[in-house]
Symmetry: C2
Subunit: 318 residues, 2 copies
């Protein structure tokens, strides 16, 4: 077998991260994910609020949007987001592709329009070969933009976490305390809602099942989308994978401590006051759900073309 000497290979500057093995659509999606030109201001990208350096969230109660507007709800993680019943806290998008269009055109988030996003990306000559590779032609459409971002998001998985290794038979993958936490989590049926491979994201449940949740956040959850009174305060159950990284917690981001969040869940959902030991055990177990974060190579974005509109962050007329 002919082979380049490894010593020589280490000098080669081509990244060997998973990014190097991605499909053309995923590669284009990774570029668009980091491209602030998808926002009105030219300053905010998907990664601004779903930061892949910090668990796919911004670790803020609610996000900073266009003109420094305060976002309406806590930014959910993009990690492992594919296999959920729906997207957004209220489930108003059924797929990642459908979801991806939301923040781009939300006036409190990226503040762009379909037309602006397509015009800007279409005006950048360096994007053309990537669209051709991904879709066969270099035509830029909003659906192609969101399809690429969705394809990239599907690569953002964290399968190899300690509890997964434990469940596969490695008894030493987690501690005794973490095992106790898992037993407690099962015993009190937290798994009823936090179910499936992501320990959540599979159903809509009432925030405050047995006791009202006090919050200043105006969101009514699922009811904001369905307009049905019975959906008031029903939210998509958050994913527990990487929960250690995705603070602050709940749809309003009101709670930044994991023990506090577990305590409140016990009281509001189970009518149960967990003991400090039980809380410590469950928190220890939750930390065994933190997986190896995706290896992301920062994309090199193509420069503006002669017709690319220059973003004006402070311009109010847009």
């Amino acid at each position: 077998m002919s082979c380049i000497p490894c010593s020589a290979q280490t000098e080669v500057n081509i990244p060997r991260s998973p990014s190097a093995q991605e499909t053309p659509m995923q590669e284009l999606g990774r570029m668009l994910w980091f491209d602030p030109r998808l926002s009105r201001s030219g300053f905010i990208s998907c990664n601004s609020c779903h930061n892949l350096s910090t668990g796919g969230v911004d670790n803020l109660k609610t996000s900073v949007g266009d003109y420094w507007q305060q976002g309406p709800i806590n930014s959910p993680t993009v990690l492992n987001a594919e296999h959920q019943v729906a997207q957004f806290w209220d489930g108003r998008a059924s797929t990642l592709e459908e979801q991806a269009g939301g923040p781009i055109t939300n006036s409190k988030e990226m503040g762009a329009t379909h037309e602006l996003a397509v015009t800007v990306i279409d005006s950048i000559p360096g994007y053309k070969p990537y669209f051709r590779k991904a879709f066969g032609t270099d035509e830029v459409t909003f659906d192609r933009i969101t399809a690429s971002i969705g394809a990239f998001e599907k690569t953002l998985v964290t399968p190899d976490y300690p509890f997964a290794r434990y469940m596969k038979g490695d008894r030493n993958a987690i501690s005794e305390q973490q095992i106790r936490g898992w037993e407690t989590f099962k015993k009190y049926r937290c798994v009823t809602c936090h179910s499936g491979p992501n320990y959540g994201g599979k159903s809509f449940q009432k925030m405050g099942a047995v006791k009202d949740y006090e919050t200043t956040n105006p969101s009514l959850g699922r009811a904001d989308f369905t307009k049905r009174d019975r959906d008031r305060m029903f939210f998509k159950v958050p994913i527990l994978l990487n929960i250690e990284l995705t603070y602050p917690y709940f749809h309003d981001g009101a709670v930044s401590s994991l023990p506090e969040a577990v305590k409140i869940m016990g009281e509001l959902q189970l009518e149960r006051s967990f003991s400090p030991e039980q809380i410590a055990d469950i928190v220890a177990w939750l930390k065994s759900l933190t997986g190896k974060q995706p290896e992301i190579v920062l994309p090199k974005l193509p420069p503006n073309g002669p017709l690319t509109p220059i973003a004006e962050p402070w311009q109010k007329s847009n």
Copy 2:
């Protein structure tokens, strides 16, 4: 020679980008570079305005800062920034390390304080091992933060650009038009100011040497720092490496087209009207200064500790 089959190597998930070969201080600097917790809001990182996906700049006239404030001056590129006479347009910092502290504590940029930055980073347990590896102890000081960021910035070089290959003897590295552009650039002594390995960054020169530069930007350049009248409108000569990526141009970011920038330079600095052909040639040559951009692996940032203050982007009291 024993050698792992290349096919096997492609399956290895460890990144092989330069990031993998960095020193402990550079690694820590790369983490801090991308960490928005160095800003008051928890939303702005070094990379927000010196985006390594877009030539080390934000491609805005002036930058978006804390509370969406408009920055005072165009964000200069961080690429190849080490070997300059000084840092900032007015040269008020003599080293990258000294420069790095500026934006973190500038109320119009990241809006933090030395105390806040140190308190936040010191409160994050996951940073401790990186400080220990880089500095011997896990003590967090502002100097260690800026020293690490400076060390990382020194890795952000783009040596392998077509004109460099041409100068090393590869006559086919650039086109006939690019060679004509270089000849024109030399003939009219643009190299007097755009000198050195970066084609700039080596001196302070008057913007508008032979004709006043009209701008609404209030900056007086070097005079803002020295308070000397004779330094009015003297700015550090911008680096031309990667100029194709670092638009918009000049300290006020007023010009987004490279041909327009070349035309204006001829008129304001040389009292010369370049012909359209000369401008096209020079622009073609300038594009041969675009180097291979640094391969950056996005860092995985450690989560907050129990004492880490949660950022409040909209809180005015800070």
